[in-house]
């Protein structure tokens, strides 16, 4: 495309600066439109499922402990290497037991890879985002703190921990066969290919139809 840097302008257009008047009409119209500002501490935006906030270890409703099996996938996938896990291994059964699970929230970049890769849905990024502090210590989460984060999140948002799901715990679009057993959890109907709706040519179309054409 050839860009015209100097458009041809008539004498009147040049002298009376018509283009400027057009711009001024636009700003005047905008002055009477609603502002888009969200007055943060007073108003808060609605968070969508999959919002990546404070880290937590999901407390297993059966055992009351973390679900982590020390597979080390989260620690290896973490781009900022902020997860450190230590575990002990039983000599005979080779079963691993987590002795410490730590996340340095100050190094975390909130990419969500850890929760996506976790085969048992142990680690999760909750929708809590107001946890800044003046010192570093409270932002270095150890295992107890991570479990407490989960309890706080459940209590604050009145979530049923048995049915909690977000798009990282059960990646959208992935077929059940591709997923490890721990991630094969039931999803809401609009997450499945049947229930999903996509936008096409300005209209809401079922995802299946959109894929066909």
């Amino acid at each position: 495309m050839k860009i015209k840097y100097k458009t041809k302008k008539g004498l009147i257009e040049r002298i009376l600066l018509l283009e400027i008047l057009k711009g001024m009409a636009l700003t005047l119209r905008r002055m009477f439109s609603r502002s888009v500002t969200v007055q943060y501490p007073k108003e808060k935006k609605k968070l969508f499922p999959g919002f990546r906030g404070r880290h937590a270890l999901i407390r297993d409703p059966k055992t009351g402990k973390a679900k982590c099996v020390a597979c080390m996938r989260c620690a290896s996938v973490c781009p900022s290497q902020c997860i450190s896990i230590r575990y002990s291994q039983d000599e005979e059964t080779k079963a691993r037991k987590v002795t410490s699970y730590e996340i340095d929230a100050l190094r975390c970049i909130y990419c969500g890879y850890c929760e996506e890769v976790c085969p048992v849905n142990a680690v999760v990024l909750t929708e809590e985002y107001e946890y800044s502090d003046y010192v570093r210590e409270p932002l270095y989460f150890d295992m107890n703190r991570l479990l407490k984060n989960w309890d706080d999140f459940v209590a604050k948002n009145k979530i049923d921990p048995r049915s909690y799901i977000n798009p990282f715990l059960r990646p959208r679009g992935a077929s059940t066969g591709e997923l490890p057993a721990g991630k094969r959890i039931p999803v809401p109907s609009d997450w499945t290919l049947e229930g999903q709706v996509v936008w096409k040519n300005g209209k809401a179309v079922p995802a299946k139809e959109a894929l066909k054409s």
């Binding site: 711009g23 700003t27 002055m31 009477f32």
Partner: protein, 322 residues
Amino acid sequence: MEILWILIKILIVFGVVMLHVAYATYFERKVIGHMQVRMGPMRVGPHGLLQPLADGIKLFFKEDVIPTPADKKVFYAAPLICLISAVSSLAVIPFFEGFAIANINIGLLYIFAFSSLASYGVVLSGWSSNSKYSFLGGLRSTAQVISYEIAMGLSLVGVMMMAGSLNLTEIVHAQMNSSFKVFLIPQFLGFFVFVIAMLAETNRTPFDLPEAETELVAGYFTEYSGMRFALFFLAEYIGMIIMSCLGVICFLGGWDGPFRVPGLPFFWFVLKVYLFIFFYYWVRATLPRYRYDQLMALGWKVLIPLALFNILLTGTIKTIFG
């Protein structure tokens, strides 16, 4: 007695103008905010109404830093020159019939003289700060003010010719007696040139090259802080008010309006001044800064010839019909 009355007038005008300056900053932020689909100040008081007060207190208690290599005496004097020349111009402005601190016969010339003097403050502050940004800002201001002073003076020559006087009260009276009631209609070319030159004269966007934030940090007052910075700020806003008043007096018929508002003889004057000030904000919210060569080209190639043509036209018509 006469002196006492003048002193009272000075106090009234000064107080009212200072209050207006404080709230001009607030409304500027509000208007520009809403034009950019934001809200502007909202936190200090309901809808941020106490923001100017908070700003004032903050500026008052800020540390006053003076750079070591600065030329101290000139550095101290520069903001005062700016402020004094801006405030002095208020003396000749007739706010309503018979209310001007000094009703002198060279009112228009007086305002020109003081608005030129104000640019000395800018130039000297740029020079004395001993900083490259301030220096460049000061230089730009010199060139800009020289260019646009001419256009502005010439744009008002048409008004002088029609009114036959430099006295601001007389100019308003001449408009009241003219057939259009305002000089805006016969002098539309002059008004057009005046409005653009007015923006340039007060260093406002799109002609804010002397204080171009993106290039020069803050331009000529980069090195100033605290109360001295506030003085420049005051001077800029008073300058805006003066130029608005001048525009109202010379082109929009001063305090005269379609009907008389009982008890508020200054009603129409103030309303028109607010419109002008709103126009300042509106332009600032809309236009980006001119490039330096564009600024010069607009001034010398468009505005000055236009103003000269306007004088020629006014003179010709006056000779034939008057």
